[in-house]
Amino acid sequence: MLRVMRTVFAWETLDLLRDRRALFFLFAVPLLVPFLGAIAGMFVLWQVARQTDEGIPIVVVNGEQLPGLVDRLEDLRILELVAMPSDPEEALQSGELVAVLEIPPDAAEALEAEEQVALNLTSSRNGWLPDFAVMAIESALDDYGDVVLTERLVRRDLDRGWLEPIRLEREIAAPAGVAAASVTGDAFPSSLGSVFLPLAVASWAFSGGLNLVASMTVGEKERRTMESLLVTPASRIGVVLGKIALSILASAITVGLWSLDSLGYTFLLSTLPAGFSGLTSSFVGQMGSLGLVVVWLVLLMLPFMTMTNAFVAAVCAFAKNYRESNLFLGVLQLLLPGMALLAVFGVGASPPGAVYALPVVGVLVAMRDLFGGGIAPGMLVLAWVAAALYAVGAVLLAAYVFSREWALMRGV
């Protein structure tokens, strides 16, 4: 059986390697997307760098009133403080000037009197540069305002606690021993991981091998090679296992590539300057523990992918032709993301153990909890064992369907 499996695996692998269209959708798309993203990102960074060198031209009116604020604005390399042009409105419209920050002429006195000072900011509508300028000015204002506030509090013998009478301190309680919080750390962008990851894994695992499995099973009927295959004494279980093995490998590579893309983007986002990295600011600090999460993720994904691919193989082996298999797969394509949504939003926190043993939902809930609230080690193992058993069941189902004449001879 192993010999047959190896022969079929090698044959299907060669077929896949020669199928440029399939290769493109399976592997080139995930490789191209970050490449295109990188080009776009580099273009944006180049534009930012160019402006940083030259500086985005802004005018500060009455700057002598708040020298501390002007110092902070000058410290920001992205801004260039220029003299007031003769016609500021025209300069703003032409893009020669990006923003005008107007400080009231009595701002220093007002601050001394502990009053509120209202500054006026006028910016142009010239592309995305004004947004960068406004963000930089706001950041300098926040910084300066903080200093002024601290001075006022000190003058009145008060501290920052006086301004915030109630403060929320948040902790994530992971179940004793293992999982989420202790693995990922409570600063991991858990909302992203716990919501999008199960959905994405469900889609990737399914889409990665779907067309490949269809081509390897119902495709045999379409190109009328099925009977030639059945005429050989080769073990039919060996044949189906060889086909499933390749689809799992292709799915794993596709999922791996997409996952690397995601990690790469998250890493890139986290390295951007303050103000751009709000979502993932803590990600880099978590890279060490991320390895453990990836191990768990792979452990959960492998039986999940085996199950989906084997199930698709069983369905496609039964189908008469591509048209019929597309009908079956259309239902599955709706069902799987539906189950992923159910797993993410429909199942409450700390569900009973039986939920982790459910097909499809169990693994997805485990993934959600791994990146979200946390999961007990026993439950993680339960989810994995259940997923592995379902995977074995799906492979047996595929092997059963592939050895039945009522399935194989449909449409032949």
Partner: protein, 275 residues
């Protein structure tokens, strides 16, 4: 040797093969004749253990096709009538793949692949991908797949269908060679001329049943016909009439009345223009 004993195959309500028994000896070319849908292909699939019989048995060299399917398939080379090819592979790769699935490998497989390529005159296009092959080229590759493991029993479903004159002649020569080599050759065809020239014995199959069995000369003599084709028409036509009558007698009374009414109405409408 191939032997069938009361071989029967039902697909739900349809009886595709109905109690067929015959023996095809080693060194003999045995022809299965029958109109389209007679059950010839199903019969060949049952013998090659692709399908499981509903009743009866198919024996290949004494091995039961149902119980020892893999061993039977190793001893049979089945040329499938409507088989296709993998577009992205060459004929040489096809033969290697099917040889490996037959359990062959190494130098033995390579030698056999070369021999089959030469035997079927495929050397010229042996390393060209199958995409765009003509029907005749495809047929030769599929025949090669069936013969790559050098089977003692060769089952050919419409072996010359889609082939040009020269290729068809070569296949007929090949069949004659198989007979000389002592192989058991079972051929399904609806070409009477081919059957008369190639087959030592023929069986006429109609509606899943064996209607007649014997040498072409015996069948011609039995029916007082001048050729095998006439004998075939005589046997199949008589059986068709018998089957229609039988069906009519079995039908409910209202259906018999409806058929009579329809027939008389048809007759009247044909008469009217003359009237």
């Amino acid at each position: 040797m191939i032997e069938t004993q009361e071989l029967t195959k039902r697909f739900r309500k349809i009886v595709a093969v109905d109690g067929v028994s015959f023996t095809c000896r080693d060194g003999e070319v045995f022809g299965l004749l029958g109109p389209n849908g007679a059950g010839k292909t199903t019969l060949l699939r049952l013998i090659a253990s692709v399908l499981e019989p509903t009743a009866g048995a198919a024996l290949v060299d004494g091995l039961n096709a149902r119980k020892e399917g893999a061993r039977v398939r190793a001893r049979v080379g089945l040329l499938v009538e409507s088989a296709g090819l993998y577009d992205r592979f060459t004929p040489r790769e096809h033969l290697r793949f099917y040889g490996r699935l037959q359990g062959m490998g190494g130098a033995q497989l390579e030698q056999r692949v070369e021999a089959v390529l030469e035997m079927l005159e495929m050397v010229d296009f042996a390393d060209r991908r199958a995409e765009g092959f003509s029907a005749g080229m495809c047929r030769r590759v599929v025949l090669g797949q069936a013969l790559v493991h050098d089977p003692p029993n060769v089952v050919l479903d419409e072996p010359t269908a889609g082939l040009d004159v020269m290729s068809a002649r070569n296949v007929r020569a090949l069949v004659a060679r198989f007979r000389e080599e002592g192989r058991c050759v079972l051929i399904s065809t609806h070409l009477m001329d081919e059957a008369q020239r190639l087959c030592d014995r023929v069986a006429i199959v109609h509606k899943g049943r064996l209607q007649a069995l014997g040498t072409p000369a015996e069948l011609v003599a039995q029916t007082d016909a001048s050729s095998l084709e006439e004998a075939f028409v005589c046997i199949v036509g008589a059986e068709q009439l018998r089957a229609d009558l039988w069906e009519e007698q079995r039908a409910p009374r209202w259906y018999q009345f409806w058929r009579r009414l329809k027939r008389s109405l048809k007759g009247r409408s044909r008469e009217q223009p003359d009237a």
